[in-house]
């Protein structure tokens, strides 16, 4: 197996996730699929910039959104989140991690008939605020929470 990979990771602090920025050249912007994928939004670094790239105005905080996860993740490579929106006409639910190199992790379109509820797993490079961003009736709303990421092991 690739021990070298592990030593590289260890050398930079042991986090399993280093960074998530990617080279724009790898995305083949010419293809139809890549155009459908919102490259600009996935390159942003702040909540407001991400919403702007998604075509919205700065979001407002909402108690109608529940962002649920453990407060401490044993490993940043897999952090489970459940997001529920009680906002009427919820159209999309996105997950954003403030301290990841690029803030937007995933964006789910919720058609009519699908519950505004998503359960998924994302990577976190370090302890960070996480946002659930919901588009409802054309406007953006968010909820946030901090998730601590711990390190571990004898070689870390």
């Amino acid at each position: 197996m690739d021990r070298g990979r592990r030593s590289v990771l260890t050398g930079t602090g042991g986090a399993a996730v280093l960074g998530l920025a990617f080279a724009a050249g790898l995305l083949r912007p010419g293809s139809a699929r890549a155009e459908a994928w919102n490259k600009a939004a996935f390159e942003t670094r702040s909540l407001n910039d991400a919403v702007k790239a998604l075509g919205g105005a700065p979001p407002t905080q909402s108690a109608e959104i529940t962002l649920s996860s453990p407060d401490i993740a044993e490993n940043g490579a897999v952090v489970p989140f459940t997001i529920t929106s009680k906002l009427p006409k919820t159209e999309s639910i996105a997950l954003l991690v403030e301290k990841n190199p690029n803030i937007l992790a995933a964006n789910f379109q919720i058609p009519e008939g699908t519950e505004p509820w998503i359960n998924t797993r994302i990577k976190m490079g370090q302890t960070s605020n996480v946002y659930a961003l919901v588009k409802a009736d054309g406007k953006y709303y968010y909820a946030s929470k901090e998730v601590k990421v711990t390190l571990g092991g004898c070689g870390g």
């Binding site: 197996m1 453990p70 401490i72 044993e74 571990g152 004898c154």
Partner: protein, 266 residues
């Protein structure tokens, strides 16, 4: 567990009750419960089943007639009797060793080929991890029942026990350093006391496991290899006599426990 977490959440939200922050240990428990709901090891199990049935190697044969402990072709429950003595090879073998033997005898691979690349990694899928995931999953819910009746089984157990307590290297570590006392942890990871049945069962019964930190299914052979790496030993060779002896000691110590692998670990 989930209901309890929900109830605690509701209490914390209630303004009349002062918020009681959960301890780190409770939060880690919540984390494990949440990720335990879906184990990517299932992807390995499916791949392993296909590989088990696929005609491979110079002899273009499947592994469906491999005797992994309960007779040729019997997969269900076979992992619970391993390691065990096999008359055809005149050796005590664990699952990985036995798969190597069958890849040689049934499929015609050289031993060298069958032992090569035992552990997967990023972008590298290997047959061994998948086969181990498939075979072990067929023993889920069954009790571990490793025999020491044959003299070679007894000897492997005794050697394994001595290896467990063997301290060496620049850190003076042995298996016992981390796994010889109750209720200890390294960073936030609980360390099973492998000299006690209950802990040995809990640990052994959940390997192999999907390692969240690596995104891979890891076999018991990998587990031992990586423990020795961190204990600052040289590199433990795949299906080596020491690895099988140590596995015999650990598996027998876990007898009576209900096998629940492949598990999911940090």
């Amino acid at each position: 567990m989930k209901a309890l977490v929900g109830a605690l959440g509701a209490m914390a939200a209630c303004a009349a009750i002062a918020q009681q922050p959960r301890s780190p240990a409770e939060e880690i428990e919540r984390y494990r419960a949440a990720i335990g709901e879906a184990n990517p090891a299932e992807l390995w199990e499916a791949r392993g089943e296909a590989l088990w049935k696929e005609k491979r190697g110079p002899k273009k044969a499947s592994l469906e007639h491999c005797d992994i402990g309960l007779g040729p072709g019997a997969v269900k429950g076979a992992y619970t009797v391993l390691p065990k003595y096999f008359a055809d090879s005149d050796k005590v073998e664990d699952l990985e060793s036995r798969l190597v033997t069958c890849m040689v005898t049934l499929q015609g691979f050289t031993r060298e080929q069958a032992r090569k690349d035992p552990f997967g990694g990023p972008g590298k899928k290997v047959p061994m991890d998948a086969l181990v995931a498939y075979v072990t999953a067929q023993s889920r819910g069954m009790k571990m029942n490793v025999s020491l009746d044959h003299p070679k089984e007894k000897e492997a157990y005794e050697l394994g026990k001595r290896i467990f307590f063997y301290r060496a290297g620049p850190h003076d570590f042995g298996c016992v350093t981390c796994h010889g006392s109750d209720n200890q942890r390294i960073r936030l990871q609980d360390l099973p006391n492998l000299t006690k049945a209950a802990d040995a069962q809990r640990a052994y019964d959940t390997w192999p496991a999907y390692r969240v930190s690596q995104g891979e299914v890891r076999s018991m052979q990998w587990r031992l290899n990586d423990c020795f790496r961190q204990a600052r030993f040289p590199e433990l060779e795949f299906v080596s006599p020491a690895s099988i002896a140590l596995t015999t000691f650990l598996a027998h110590s876990a007898n009576g426990g209900t096998f629940d692998g492949p598990g999911m670990k940090r």
